[in-house]
């Protein structure tokens, strides 16, 4: 319950601060623009991911995925049970397509990038709890910038809009970098590309990595 109250407080803070700089704006317009801001933020930062488990079966190439919340934007990777990256693509959004069929049944994990759903219906937007406390200022800058770009309103201000959109884009870049570095500072996130990794044990090296692969 405390968690939910904190979440609502951040939403109240975000819209409250936005209204200060946008006199005369309707709450409806703010919510509509907020959806667009969230979509752009998630699309460009790739910071909202989900790991979805499924089972690959022989002679089947396509596997529809089901998310717990949000909408799939793109596929980041498909890992097999040994954390090897498989050759997979997503020509149809939401369905993993393997380039080659498997000969035996085995568990797989798809990592997908997601964005918001249900414009006009779902408010507050259905996003993970950690997004707003961490990125509320970035979203505020995006919301102010988008609103101020609308022409012929009492809050229209192209110059200030440009300023806020620049800060928004900087924030997106920061969120993307944090995502790539898996929210670490100075940690080594690079690893040999897993698609090049051999599954043989020639040379006495075990390929069965017990640790999860970094992104």
């Amino acid at each position: 319950m405390a968690r939910k109250n904190e979440f609502n407080a951040y939403w109240g803070k975000l819209l409250g601060q936005a209204k200060v700089g946008l006199m005369g704006a309707s709450t409806t317009q703010l919510k509509v623009q907020l959806f667009d801001v969230l979509h752009e933020f998630f699309d460009q930062s790739c910071c909202w991911t989900e790991l979805i488990n499924f089972t690959a079966i022989p002679d089947t190439l396509d596997y529809p995925l089901k998310t717990t919340q949000g909408r799939i934007l793109r596929l980041e990777a498909v890992l097999n049970q040994h954390n090897h990256q498989e050759q997979a693509i997503m020509p149809d959004i939401g369905t993993v397509h393997f380039l080659y069929p498997f000969t035996q049944q085995q568990p797989m994990t798809a990592i997908v990038i997601k964005t918001v759903t249900d414009p006009l219906v779902c408010y507050p937007p259905n996003i993970p709890d950690w997004i707003l406390p961490k990125h509320h200022q970035v979203l505020l800058h995006g919301l102010l910038g988008q609103m101020m770009m609308i022409p012929a309103q009492s809050y229209s201000n192209p110059q200030l809009a440009q300023f806020y959109m620049q800060k928004f884009n900087d924030g997106i870049t920061g969120a993307y970098v944090a995502s790539v570095k898996t929210n670490t500072v100075g940690a080594q996130t690079w690893m040999f590309p897993q698609s090049h990794r051999s599954s043989s044990q020639r040379g006495g090296i075990s390929t069965y990595n017990v640790h999860p692969s970094p992104r």
């Binding site: 704006a25 309707s26 709450t27 509509v32 012929a152 309103q153 009492s154 809050y155």
Partner: protein
Amino acid sequence: MATTPSYHGNFSDQDQPTYNTVADYIADARTILQDLVPDYRYDDPSMLAALNAAMLEARRIKPELFVYNWEVEGQVQAFKAVDETYVDIEPQFRLAIVHGLIGHALERDQEDYQDQRATAFLAMFTQGLVGKALGAVVGGSPPKGKGGA
């Protein structure tokens, strides 16, 4: 000093009680029009027509107020009786609707000072919807006769 409890919202503007229903809007409009004694100078059908016209004009000037009616393609509410039907307008724009209602009602009067007053209320309606400061209410008293002025 103790006072009566006031309304405080709970993240839901749908519960804000000021100007909630058709009857609320028309009652306040009649107060401003100084038309509180039956038989009314502005009868119910004419007030409903004025409210409906104000809503349609609000759709033109501030379309996003109606975007949440997307299931009916953003249609505007229409009212047929002075009753407790909820008028679905965000709280901060409800006063503008009252001004639009009054402006439309005043348009039918032919006296010059009422024309000026109607124009002032319609301007307040527009300014209230687009978020700008409201103008002055003008034309508060009728012009004097030939020997006046």
